[in-house]
């Protein structure tokens, strides 16, 4: 268990003694990090359960199941599952775990700080996130059920209320409110991360000595600060359209199932799409950048080699962050947007492939000439690289409007974003979890169970998502309840069965992880050394788990870059960042 008793004795750094202040309304960044990770762990299993139900239906649409009324799923149930799967996975898992979870726990420690810059704000941002999760989940239990408009929630479908379909009433309202609350929480978190990284770095921790994990958390926080404000505004406008009779997104003259909508006019459905994707595209990088940081960090650590091209890596992260704000229009090639801006967005999007390619080259360069150790953390980091390549390359098709004309809103897109922002990001999280678990909890995750978990998951995700490209080539539109109404979809049903079987095997494998997590917490092998991986960054210079104020009241001093592995002339194959030059043992 985490202990906080041996705090350094600095007034406000004193560990609180009551259970509530220590574990519930804690202002310790480490406890908050674990709270975020727990929230994401709960959410990922909810999101996965929703996808299991969808795959059950897609694989065997006519089979009867006792848990559906009348044995069969209805179209609105399917769309509600799809909407909530996307929402929960994107916001409650991909946005929280890599950044707010691991970032909260390890950013302050890796830069040598005792806590985040604003500990109370940090606590507030977690509990605000928690509130938004409750509000969203409540959407399942109101009349009409959860919304059916997808995680992108395009108006007018999302703006007209119940008349547009079941779930578009109270469920959709709760969804929007939940999302708006989440935006608030993310803005608080982003401010805190940026301030902490700029202000609280230890002596000697120059920007050029920051671990790449910190660089990615920093750039991600900047993206969050600029993107979530826009989504918050969009959510407020959409809410006003629904409850206050405004018409930001609803044009005049609509007729919904023979009923004339006289109370709206003058709005633009495209406005929402611009606002949403101005947030939505940077969001992709919010999900994936921390994974890139973890992958870079682990590839270097476990090939016992410096990161290849550290400066190029930092440049690529910043480049991806910047370009990420210039490409939102590629989600709107078929929306009716000006074809000239579509072309400009296309070229900008092709450009973002360049820093992504730089990262891939540098990862291979990092491995090249190394001494690679295959623990589970490293396996997931290697898996990340493979998935990032596979998921990223399909983006080059979708970035071209002429090809997007065919592929848009189809399974090719589903394959693309699941591989890159879904599973690649999740592989980054698994890598981080297997790597940092001993630091966080003082025990190792089981390597044996971990290997089985890795292989089933790695083979499984490829078996699920690769075939979806082919469904997309055959023209299968996404968000389809079944394949019965359109003639050319019928022959594709066997592919759906294959994907569903692969999905159930992969989902089952995640229970191995869950078991490993809780079993290792209690009975895992103890991490007696401070630095069992022989790593270089500051979290490995303090006990596992770290004391309440991280460095026992002593501010660490940093002398080295973050990836000093196998340095010629040194006796050990790693030089910790905090080791004074005169203490480095000579060969």
């Amino acid at each position: 268990m985490v202990t906080h008793e041996d705090g350094g004795g600095h007034g406000h750094h004193q560990a609180p003694s009551g259970f509530i202040r220590k574990y519930v309304f804690s202002i310790d960044h480490k406890v908050i990090g674990i709270q975020y990770l727990s929230l994401a762990l709960f959410s990922v299993f909810v999101g996965m359960a929703l996808s299991a139900l969808m795959r059950l239906h897609l694989g065997w649409p006519t089979a009867k199941w006792f848990f559906f009324k009348g044995g069969l799923m209805t179209p609105e149930q399917y769309l509600a599952l799809m909407t909530m799967h996307g929402t929960i996975m994107v916001f409650m898992v991909l946005t929280t775990a890599p950044q707010s979870g691991f970032g909260n726990y390890f950013l302050p420690i890796q830069i040598g700080a005792a806590d985040m810059a604003f500990p109370v704000l940090n606590m507030l941002s977690f509990w605000t996130t928690f509130l938004s999760l409750l509000v969203m989940i409540a959407a399942f239990f109101v009349t009409g059920g959860a919304p059916i408009g997808g995680w992108t929630s395009y108006p007018p479908l999302s703006a007209l209320g119940e008349m547009a379909g079941p779930g578009q009433g109270a469920g959709e309202t709760l969804w929007i409110i939940g999302l708006a609350i989440f935006c608030g929480a993310s803005l608080m978190g982003a401010l805190n991360f940026i301030t902490t990284l700029i202000d609280l770095r230890a002596k000697g921790m120059t920007l050029g000595r920051l671990p790449l994990t910190c660089w990615t958390w920093f750039v991600t926080a900047i993206l969050g600060l600029l993107a979530f404000g826009v989504l918050l505004a969009a959510c407020i406008l959409l809410l006003l359209d629904r409850v206050a009779g405004t018409s930001f997104f609803i044009p005049g003259g609509l007729v919904v199932t023979d009923q004339v909508v006289t109370w709206h006019k003058g709005g633009s459905p495209l406005l929402w799409q611009h606002l949403f994707w101005f947030f939505g595209h940077p969001e992709v990088y919010i999900a994936i950048l921390p994974g890139m940081g973890v992958a870079s960090h682990l590839l270097s650590t476990f090939s016992r080699k410096p990161v290849f091209g550290y400066r190029a890596m930092v440049g690529a992260v910043c480049g991806i962050g910047f370009l990420g704000f210039c490409v939102w229009g590629h989600h709107m090639f078929i929306s009716g947007m000006s074809p000239y801006s579509a072309f400009a967005f296309s070229i900008l999007t092709m450009t973002i492939g360049v820093p992504s390619a730089i990262k891939t080259f540098n990862w291979l360069g990092t491995l090249w000439g190394g001494k690679i150790q295959f623990n589970v953390a490293m396996l997931f980091a290697l898996g990340f690289v493979s998935l990032f390549v596979s998921g990223g390359l399909s983006g080059l098709f979708l970035a071209q409007p002429s090809l997007d004309l065919y592929l848009h809103d189809g399974y090719f897109v589903v394959a693309h974003f699941h591989l890159i922002m879904g599973v690649a990001a999740i592989f980054g999280m698994f890598a981080g979890m297997y790597f940092w678990f001993p630091k966080m909890f003082g025990r190792f995750l089981s390597e044996g169970i971990g290997k089985v978990h890795f292989w089933l998951t790695f083979v499984g995700v490829y078996a699920i998502f690769m075939p979806m490209h082919f469904l997309g080539l055959a023209g299968h539109p996404r968000r389809y309840f079944d394949t019965t109404a359109v003639g050319f979809l019928g022959p594709l049903q066997p592919v759906h069965v294959f994907i569903s079987v692969a999905a159930f095997i992969t989902i089952s494998a995640q229970f191995l992880f869950l078991f490993n997590f809780f079993w290792s917490l209690k009975a895992g092998k103890e991490a007696k050394e401070e630095n069992p991986w022989h790593a270089t960054t500051l979290e490995w210079s303090i006990p596992s788990p770290p004391p309440h104020d991280n460095f026992g009241g002593v501010e660490p001093v940093v002398y080295h870059g973050p990836y000093e592995f196998s340095v010629p002339g040194a006796a050990d194959d790693y030089i910790p960042q905090h080791l004074a030059p005169n203490l480095v043992r000579k060969a």
Partner: protein, 276 residues
């Protein structure tokens, strides 16, 4: 203790990883090359051009895909921990510049190359003699409208819309131009003639998608969006809605039939007779 175990196990894990990466790559490339699942044949000149651009993109991404996955497989196996020392190097600026430039040329070049196909649909409008057809989406049906012999679309009014009484798009009978308008849930199109499609929606956003035309375009309420195409090959082609529009999205479906000029004229006459 932990490290020793890893060194012993590292060859088999490295081999397994390398083999999986190679297998996954080969199988993926094979399925793409054998065209096990593929586009249906295109029926427009634009469609052929898009297919050619797809193949070009597939070639370039395919080479990068194979190189990266094989590179990873080789690195993983070759540099597994078998007791050697890691070599120390922090990077190579020449290589960074080289592969940055190479990807810029490759990726941006590909994007510029694709301009032509896009320009054909969107930078120029339909030509003078194109047949205008209006397509209106509503939850969960499509309605095509032909202007009839007068060449003019009659007025429509939202308050007149009544799918149940046979006026799904709200034609105003007091407008003389609306008298000869033909409204049909399916479309007929003469082969080899250009069609100008005017997309509208009554309620939420829908999307016109015919695979063989290689075209997809949202129908957005409050907007009128014009696209155009010339279908060359007679046949029946399915139209599927491609933008989530509510619970019946998956069954919002229609058919576009490409036929000879004579059959088309006959079809129009039959429709006009049925409309009276």
């Amino acid at each position: 203790m932990l490290r020793r175990q890893e060194e012993r196990g590292s060859t088999s894990v490295a081999l397994a990883m390398a083999i999986f990466l190679v297998l996954m790559t080969v199988v993926t490339v094979y399925i793409f090359m054998a065209k096990v699942w593929w586009f249906p044949p295109a029926i427009t000149n634009l469609g052929h051009e898009i297919d050619a651009q797809f193949v070009r993109t597939l070639l370039i991404t395919g080479i990068v895909f194979v190189a990266a996955q094989f590179g990873l497989a080789i690195a993983v196996y070759k540099f597994r921990d078998h007791g050697q020392k890691a070599t120390y190097f922090e990077g190579n600026n020449t290589m960074e510049i080289l592969w940055t430039l190479a990807t810029v040329v490759l990726f941006v070049g590909l994007g510029l190359y694709a301009r032509n196909a896009w320009a054909q649909v969107h930078f120029v409008g339909a030509s003078e003699g194109a047949i205008p057809i209006e397509l209106t989406g509503q939850q969960f049906a499509w309605n095509f409208r032909y202007p009839g012999p007068d060449g003019k679309f009659g007025r429509t009014k939202p308050e007149l819309v009544s799918a149940s009484t046979g006026n799904p798009i709200g034609l105003d009978p007091t407008d003389p131009a609306s008298k000869d308008d033909i409204v049909s849930p399916v479309a007929a199109v003469p082969a080899g003639r250009e069609v100008e499609l005017i997309l509208r929606s009554q309620d939420v956003t829908h999307s016109f998608y015919v695979r063989e035309l290689r075209l997809k375009q949202d129908a957005v309420p409050g907007m009128e969006i014009h696209i155009h195409f010339t279908a060359n090959t007679p046949g029946e082609y399915e139209l599927a809605c491609a933008e989530l529009c509510g619970l019946g999205h998956y069954r919002m479906h229609s058919v576009v039939t490409v036929m000879s000029e004579a059959d088309y004229e006959k079809w129009l006459k039959d429709q006009a007779a049925a409309n009276q």
